[in-house]
């Protein structure tokens, strides 16, 4: 029995507990980490789908249709919608709920807006952990919507098994899709706004490119024509997602990718902890205060100084830094 009452409530399907715990994991609090540890056995069951793509292609509107479709099938759905934080003030306007057009009082649906809070790559720090909380809460499907992404916002790859890249007609020629980044992570291309002229051409062109694009696995990217406006192609899109999920369960290249993702997560978690410890050491440890002093006065160079710091943290002996005896760097 997990000790945190919030965790117990979450596992019983308490929405307030889910909301509060998301706040905790989003701010990286110890309570959040402890909660994640205890819910971990309840995770990994949901279908996690990422929706990414440029600004204004209709990601939210398409997700809104998809949510309606899945709720009709009786599936419980969680949505995480990420919008950017201001790099200047840290503030954010999170506006995805407007387009999600949610049915009131639906107990099988939970939507959370998140700000990137300084994270680049299209997601926020807490997105992966929020997916897990939603899984433990009992969601069958979790949909992650990235910020309106540029060409290199590909972090959705780290949290979602199936990645839908949403595009619209007239976005550019076939060379655009050869460029690195967004097009590399697509398992499915959803050509939204297919009610507009140019849609058949966009679909045909993407189908031609799909075989060339996905060189990493044996999956050939699906191209689905849809329109959030007219609610067409939604079932096709879901079928395609299910097909890819099935593929990912069986295919060895997909398993390799999972191993890659896991290694990346472990690395990030350790980096995060190291970062905290470094910050703490530098601000509170007397020896380190002295080191800072010595580096800033030019008596030790920063490269050797960082080795000393690393040695303090890992407990391993560091290459002993040459103390400059003769020519300290002149103060500016």
């Amino acid at each position: 029995m997990p000790p945190d009452p919030l965790v117990r409530r979450l596992l019983k399907g308490d929405r307030v507990a889910l909301a509060k715990l998301i706040t905790e994991v989003e701010s990286g609090s110890p309570q959040g980490t402890e909660a994640l540890r205890s819910i971990y056995p309840h995770t990994g069951k949901a279908t996690v789908v990422g929706f990414t793509g440029p600004l204004g292609v209709g990601k939210s509107s398409l997700i809104s249709r998809m949510v309606g479709h899945l709720r009709k099938k009786g599936l419980k759905v969680g949505v995480i919608a990420v919008d950017p934080s201001s790099p200047f003030t840290g503030g954010a306007v999170l506006g995805d709920r407007i387009r999600l057009n949610l049915p009131p009082g639906d107990k099988g649906l939970f939507v959370r807006s998140m700000a990137t809070r300084g994270q680049s790559g299209g997601l926020s720090q807490g997105t992966r952990d929020t997916v897990r909380l939603m899984e433990a809460f009992g969601m069958d499907v979790v949909i992650v919507e990235t910020v309106g992404s540029g060409q290199s916002d590909v972090n959705v790859r780290d949290v979602a098994t199936t990645r839908v890249v949403v595009l619209v007609p007239h976005l550019g020629d076939d060379i655009q899709s050869l460029k690195a980044g967004l097009f590399e992570i697509a398992d499915i291309f959803a050509v939204n706004k297919s009610d507009l002229p140019g849609a058949p051409e966009a679909v045909r062109h993407l189908r031609e490119m799909a075989g060339i694009l996905m060189a990493r696995t044996s999956w050939r990217a699906d191209v689905v024509e849809c329109s959030a406006l007219n609610a067409t192609g939604i079932e096709d899109l879901w079928k395609s997602i299910e097909r890819h999920e099935e593929f990912a369960r069986k295919d060895s290249s997909a398993r390799e990718e999972l191993a890659e993702r896991t290694a990346k997560e472990l690395r990030e978690l350790v980096q995060h902890k190291m970062d905290e410890r470094v910050r703490l050491l530098l601000s509170e440890d007397e020896g380190m205060q002295k080191l800072i002093q010595e580096v800033s006065e030019g008596r030790i160079d920063p490269y050797s100084g960082s080795e000393l710091l690393l040695g303090r943290i890992t407990g391993l002996p560091s290459k002993s830094p040459p103390k400059r005896k003769t020519t300290p760097r002149s103060a500016r």
Partner: protein, 146 residues
């Protein structure tokens, strides 16, 4: 990372204040709400903007899911004495604690007094400065650092 490191020691990191901005009911004038949303954003808060034609129920649903600290309601329709108390009542019925409500729009002084007595933390009429709104929202969120 800007703005999150106001208290730097160990745990208990400060997190941004989260504010719901919504227009309940049927009025279509959302310019004021947008200006306020933007001002709160620039003050370092995370504003979940719900926009037009929201029901009190959907506003409270959103506030719960988003773990908001504050709900800001904008009304220019004259329906404030119906809709604002309704939001407060639903919050109470659902035993939600820790979410305070403020309102803005065309709200006569007499009504403002009554709304305050029902627990509305702050009411802003025409001419209210953005600075005063930011200040009050910080106060009602119970935290001074955004």
């Amino acid at each position: 990372m800007p703005n999150r490191s106001k208290n730097t020691k160990g745990s208990g990191k400060s997190r941004p204040i989260r504010v719901i901005i919504a227009k309940p009911g049927l009025d279509g004038h959302d310019r004021g709400a947008k200006v306020v949303a933007r001002a709160l954003r620039d003050a370092g808060m995370e504003v979940i903007y719900l926009g037009l034609r929201q029901t009190p129920e959907s506003i409270v649903d959103a506030a719960i899911e988003e773990d908001a600290d504050v709900i800001g309601l904008s009304l220019l329709s004259g329906a404030h004495m119906t809709l604002v108390p309704r939001v407060v009542k639903i919050l109470k019925d659902r035993k939600v604690r820790g979410i305070s409500v403020f309102a803005g729009g065309i709200i006569p002084d007499e009504d403002a007094r009554r709304l305050r007595s029902m627990g509305i933390k702050a009411i802003f009429g025409p001419g209210a400065t953005l600075e005063s709104i930011i200040h009050q929202v910080r106060q009602t969120a119970g935290r001074h650092a955004a």
